[in-house]
């Protein structure tokens, strides 16, 4: 109970201060002009991104270069983490050998429930990412939802179950590279037809086969979905290697 005293003092201070500050604070009821511009122009207007979802059109059209460089920060952060846990070819093969204590795993109930939920997570994350230009959602949201699925498999089965079904670190890195390359290529395409970098309208068609795809937004969303989901999967595959295996490698190197 004694450790809650600072918290209570803090709460009383907050209410007391609020009583004094309240008359001086302006009420925030108006939009800023920049926000109003985005709301008016995202679907109708002259500078349209042809998307009813204003946040996604800001992310990948109006402020696209910002997001492009954020994606490069993501790329460098994941590369840095993979470098810290670097293994050579022989050690990587050895890390894939299943250890004794992983033979049994958790109970049948957990395993079958996980199997159903993983399929649902994959469907929901793909839906979040591919409808990102129509409803709330997009590449970042869908990708982080996708990364939960391999995490659940690692928790319920083990990392070896993922590797036996063909999703090892190299594959995840290949998927991540496909996503990042796709983003770079879609950003460079407008230069071919005399536009500027990351231009959306009118270079990309707004409708494809009668469906609203909002120009380049759907391609960016899809590639970002792949990049984020596969990047986090690669990181968790490395984290799930038991510490015993790493200790063994380190000791062997020290002896040599």
């Amino acid at each position: 109970m004694k450790r809650l005293v600072p918290l209570i003092i803090l709460l009383i201070t907050i209410f007391g201060l609020a009583y004094y500050i309240t008359p001086k604070l302006p009420q925030q009821t108006e939009l800023r002009p920049l926000g109003e511009f985005y709301l008016k122009n995202s679907y109708f207007g002259d500078y349209s991104a042809k998307s009813p979802e204003v946040v996604t059109s800001i992310l990948w059209d109006y402020r696209g270069l910002d997001t492009l460089f954020e994606t490069s920060v993501f790329f460098i952060a994941i590369i840095g983490s993979l470098t810290l846990f670097r293994l050579n070819k022989k050690q990587e093969e050895e890390a894939k050998q299943k250890a004794e204590e992983f033979r049994i795993g958790l109970t049948l109930i957990i395993k079958s429930v996980t199997r159903v939920i993983v399929v649902m997570i994959l469907a929901v994350s793909a839906s979040i990412a591919l409808h990102g230009h129509l409803t709330p959602g997009g590449g970042f949201q869908g990708g982080s939802a996708l990364a939960v699925a391999p995490l659940l498999i690692i928790a319920a089965y083990s990392k070896y179950a993922l590797e036996e079904h063909g999703l090892d670190k190299t594959r995840a890195l290949i998927f991540r590279s496909i996503g990042l390359l796709g983003i770079a290529l879609v950003a460079l395409v407008p230069l071919l037809s005399g536009g500027f970098l990351m231009q959306n309208q009118p270079i990309f068609p707004a409708k494809l086969g009668g469906q609203l795809v909002s120009g380049s937004l759907i391609y960016y969303n899809f590639f970002e979905f792949l990049a984020v989901g596969a990047g986090f999967t690669a990181v968790f595959l490395l984290l799930a290697i038991p510490e015993k295996v790493f200790k063994k490698f380190l000791r062997r190197e020290a002896n040599e």
């Binding site: 450790r3 600072p6 918290l7 803090l10 709460l11 946040v55 996604t56 979040i128 709330p136 959602g137 997009g138 970042f140 949201q141 982080s144 939802a145 990364a147 939960v148 995490l151 928790a155 986090f232 968790f236 984290l239 799930a240 510490e243």
Partner: protein, 84 residues
């Protein structure tokens, strides 16, 4: 009517304050991860009340799911109890 929205927001923010305090003074790292997950859930509700459905979708997956798992991996590979 806006008062009800703001009151719900106030409750979630104060829950966030209390649980962030508990997470920081706790000596057992696993318990601290649990408290910080509760803090994340409260903030996810706050983002929903602030009319930001895009952020809720990203934040729930990252802060409640991936983040807790990452910290549990870190604690399992290092020390659990903090010596003050």
């Amino acid at each position: 009517m806006i008062e009800i929205h703001l009151l719900m927001l106030l409750i979630t923010v104060i829950i966030g304050l209390i649980f962030s305090y508990l997470a920081i003074i706790e000596k057992d790292s696993l318990k601290a991860i649990g408290f910080s997950a509760v803090h994340a859930i409260a903030y996810a509700i706050a983002f929903y009340i602030l009319m930001a459905p895009d952020i809720v979708l990203a934040y729930v997956a990252v802060a409640v799911g991936i983040y807790s798992a990452l910290l549990i991996f870190v604690v399992s590979k290092t020390e659990r109890y903090e010596v003050v």
